[in-house]
Symmetry: C2
Subunit: 213 residues, 2 copies
């Protein structure tokens, strides 16, 4: 179920597209620092230091500290949307597609917790324009999940009273994994993904037989 790419230890997976090398190292350093301390508590000197460079080097590749957060946020949201989109448009019943979407989405939030934390919780530190751009991506994530649930209801697989509210709760449940998941805790990302897929199927009234075993 899980690919090496998704759960790669260094979490450096998704940043391959960022060039040149120095810009990528700065970006990864920023992700780590923002995740540990939060955007406002992180200094540009800290980011540059983690990347093994002088404070001034940051400004060769990025106009401001906020541009770093914006870039991280956009790449992260695009990755999240891609995960949901892939799962939503796979062949299969709504039940299978929802379980797949939730387990892979949760796996991403747990395994790439450092990145996911920044992506999901530092949104308010962006300026209005950047935030609007990111919010548009979020709405697309919402639409993908809602589409699966609507399909399931139409097919009689799911039993959901409030589709909009349930969609929101499902996404909320998955996203919050980034807040509490601990790499040294009792669960692997795969285990949390499986547990959550089961819980979400129950939420939509499709807990089914195998969940009751």
């Amino acid at each position: 179920m899980s690919t090496a790419e998704e759960t790669a230890g260094g979490e450096a997976q998704a940043w391959g597209e960022v060039t040149p090398d120095a810009a990528r190292r700065l970006l990864i350093a920023a992700v780590e620092a923002f995740a540990e301390r939060g955007y406002h508590a992180t200094t540009t000197r800290d980011i540059a230091g983690r990347a093994g460079m002088s404070p001034a080097a940051l400004y060769i590749h990025y106009k401001t500290k906020e541009e770093l957060l914006h870039r991280i946020s956009r790449i992260g949201h695009e990755k999240a949307l891609e995960i949901l989109r892939t799962a939503a448009r796979r062949e299969g019943t709504a039940r299978e597609r929802l379980a797949g979407a939730v387990s892979s989405f949760v796996r991403w939030h747990a395994g790439g917790r450092t990145t996911a934390r920044v992506v999901q919780y530092e949104l308010d530190s962006l300026g209005p324009d950047a935030r609007d751009e990111i919010l548009a991506l979020r709405r697309q994530c919402d639409a993908e999940v809602r589409a699966i649930i609507e399909d399931g209801v139409a097919a009689g697989e799911f039993d959901v009273v409030d589709v909009k509210g349930t969609t929101l709760a499902v996404l909320s449940l998955c996203i919050d994994v980034a807040r509490w998941f601990n790499v040294n805790g009792p669960w692997t990302p795969d285990e949390v993904g499986a547990l959550y897929a089961d819980l979400v199927l129950r939420m939509v009234g499709a807990g089914g037989e195998e969940a009751r075993r």
Copy 2:
């Protein structure tokens, strides 16, 4: 179901115990500022300004800015624990107690979103000692919810494979309400509380008849 105290507009409800008056005004100002901008992005000048005082006045009542966050966090967590404890120890079936706990806990996070946001999301800005104290309160919250679920499983009301994981997911779901809930959105705190109580009962395999209507 909901009391005036829980959903009072100004959210000033729980701070009655803080004296003298100037100290309370500063604390409420800090809650609002932290919720809007985050702890690190909030300045002591901003807090004092909102309370209608000079920057120096803050230090008559609080040793540091962090002490403000610590006080807010402790009072908020005590309130949250009280809500869960009251619901958990009420008379009734596990099903009824879980529904009551979730709906009142969610109502608190939605209605008192400003406070809940600070309480749930600014924990990492505390120093180690203060954080440890707050984490102990969190563990008590977890224990209350887990006790209800264990009761339900023992009584044959619930069907739960992983009690620990399900407890965590239920709390996570409720807490994350503070992140996304919007006072100007389509739902009232009561509505979200009712929706979430239903969803949580489904998660523990007690969705029951009335949910299927």
